[in-house]
C-alpha cells in the first residue's frame, strides 16, 4: 500500500525526500492465518487448550443473560477460569511448536481446521442455532458438568506429566475444574430432580450432548504418542472413572445415560461441526481487523 502526502502549501522547493516525511512503518501488521506445525505433542496440548477456549467462548455468551444475577456472575467466572487455562496452554503449545507463535496468534490466527477442541464444546449453548435444537440453560449446566468431569480426570493424570509446565498447569487448573464440577453437578441434580418441565429439558439436553461424548475417549496416534512419552494420558484411559462419576450424578438427578450411538465427532482431528466457523468468526474478527491493537 502506498501513502501520499498533500502538496506543500508554499512553492518552496521540497528538499527532503517525500518518504522521509512519512513515518517508517513498523513491522507490517498481518491478518493472515499462521501456518501451524502439527507435530503430535503440539496437537495434544492444543486439543486441551482449544477445548478450554471454545468452551469459555460459549460460556461467555451468557454474560448479561444469566437466569439470575448471581448465576450470571458464576457462569462468567467459570468462563474466565477456562480462558486462563487456555492462555497458559496456548503459550506452552507455542513453545513446544518452536515457531515463536504466542498465545494470541494461536488463539486468533488459526483457522478452523487447525483447531482441535472436543466437538461438544463448540455446539450452540445459550441459543438454538439454525437447525440445531436446544441451546438453553439445561444444555449449559449439562455440558459444563460433562466437560468438568472430563477435565478433572485429565488434570489429575496430567499432574504427573513428564512435562513440568504441563504438570504445573494441571495442578492449578484442577482446583478450578473441581469447583466447576460441583457447581454444574448441583444444577444437573436440581433440574433433573426438579419440576416436570426442568426434567424434560434435562432429558432433551442429555440426548443432544451424549453422542458427542464418544469423542472424549477416542484415543488415536496423538494420544498414544503422548502416553509413550509420559506427556499425558490417552483419552481412552479416562473413560471408566468419567462414566462412574457421571452416572452417579445422573442417578441422583433421576436421569439415565442415553444409549451409545455409532456417531463419532472429529473436532480433535480438526474436522468440525458447522458451528465452530461462526464462533471463530466472532472471536477472531476484532484482532484480525485491528492487528496489534491495544485496548
Amino acid at each position: 500500500m502506498t501513502r501520499t502526502l498533500a502538496a506543500p502549501a508554499t512553492s518552496a522547493p521540497v528538499t527532503a525526500p517525500v518518504n522521509a516525511l512519512v513515518p517508517a512503518p513498523t513491522k507490517a501488521p498481518t491478518t493472515t492465518s499462521i501456518q501451524l506445525d502439527r507435530k503430535p505433542q503440539v496437537q495434544y496440548v492444543l486439543r486441551i487448550a482449544d477445548t478450554c477456549l471454545v468452551h469459555a467462548q460459549r460460556l461467555s455468551e451468557w454474560c448479561g443473560h444469566g437466569p439470575a444475577l448471581e448465576e450470571d456472575i458464576a457462569l462468567t467466572n467459570m468462563a474466565l477460569d477456562l480462558v486462563g487455562q487456555a492462555r497458559t496452554l496456548l503459550s506452552h503449545a507455542g513453545h513446544l511448536e518452536g515457531q515463536g507463535h504466542d498465545e494470541d496468534q494461536l488463539a486468533y490466527l488459526r483457522d478452523e481446521r487447525d483447531y482441535f477442541n472436543l466437538t461438544l464444546a463448540e455446539q450452540p449453548m445459550r441459543r438454538s442455532s439454525g437447525h440445531v435444537q436446544g441451546g438453553d440453560f439445561a444444555d449449559t449446566v449439562l455440558r459444563n458438568f460433562l466437560l468438568a468431569t472430563w477435565f478433572k480426570g485429565l488434570w489429575t493424570a496430567l499432574q504427573s506429566s513428564s512435562d513440568a509446565m504441563l504438570a504445573a498447569i494441571a495442578g492449578k487448573a484442577i482446583k478450578e475444574s473441581r469447583y466447576h464440577l460441583q457447581h454444574s453437578g448441583d444444577w444437573v441434580v436440581r433440574l433433573g430432580d426438579g419440576s416436570l418441565e426442568s426434567a424434560r429439558r434435562m432429558v432433551a439436553a442429555l440426548d443432544r450432548a451424549w453422542p458427542f461424548t464418544a469423542e472424549f475417549f477416542a484415543s488415536d496416534a496423538v494420544d498414544e504418542a503422548a502416553a509413550r512419552d509420559g506427556l499425558g494420558p490417552t483419552r481412552s484411559s479416562l473413560q471408566s472413572a468419567w462414566l462412574a462419576q457421571v452416572q452417579a450424578v445422573l442417578a441422583e438427578a433421576g436421569l439415565e445415560p442415553p444409549a451409545t450411538t455409532p456417531f463419532l465427532s472429529t473436532g480433535t482431528q480438526g474436522r468440525h461441526s458447522e458451528h465452530l466457523g461462526y464462533l471463530l468468526a466472532e472471536m477472531q474478527s476484532l484482532p484480525r481487523q485491528h492487528p496489534q491493537g491495544r485496548w
Binding site: A68, L69, E70, E71, I73, A74, N77, Y179, Q182, H183, D186, R190, G192, D193, G194, S195, L196, E197, S198, A199, R200, M202, V203, L206, D207, G254, L255, E256, P258, A259
Partner: protein, 112 residues
C-alpha cells in the same frame, strides 16, 4: 431414553410454579483470613443454603476477599425494631463512665 420424572405437584406457569417463585434472600458473611471474624458483606438470592454458599463465593470472594463463608437466610435473622431505637440506644448517650477513659494506666501498659 427414559427419565424418572418426579412431578413437583405444581402446574407449570401457576403461581406456585417453582420456576417462577423468586429465590429467597441470604445474608453473606466472609472471613478475610484465619483469626478474624466473619463479617457481614452483603446479601444474595439463592434457591437454598448450599447454592447460596456457592454463589457467595462467586459474588463476594472474586478478588481474594475470603477464606471462609457463612450464609444465613435473611428471614432467620431477628432484628431490633427501628421504632425502638430511642428506647434501646439513647439512654447510653450520657453514661460516659462506661468507657474505660477514667482509669490511670500503669506506664507498662503501652497500648490500650
Amino acid at each position: 431414553m427414559s427419565a424418572n420424572l418426579r412431578p413437583s405437584g405444581a402446574p407449570a406457569g401457576g403461581k406456585d410454579d417453582p420456576a417462577l417463585v423468586e429465590w429467597p434472600l441470604f445474608e453473606v458473611f466472609v472471613r478475610a483470613k484465619a483469626g478474624l471474624d466473619h463479617k457481614h458483606c452483603g446479601s444474595l438470592h439463592a434457591a437454598d443454603a448450599k447454592m447460596a454458599v456457592q454463589l457467595a463465593r462467586e459474588v463476594y470472594t472474586r478478588r481474594q476477599e475470603g477464606t471462609s463463608l457463612w450464609v444465613v437466610k435473611s428471614s432467620d435473622i431477628t432484628a431490633s425494631d427501628p421504632g425502638d431505637k430511642d428506647m434501646y440506644f439513647d439512654p447510653m448517650e450520657d453514661k460516659v463512665y462506661r468507657h474505660p477513659s477514667f482509669y490511670a494506666l500503669p506506664d507498662a501498659v503501652d497500648h490500650m
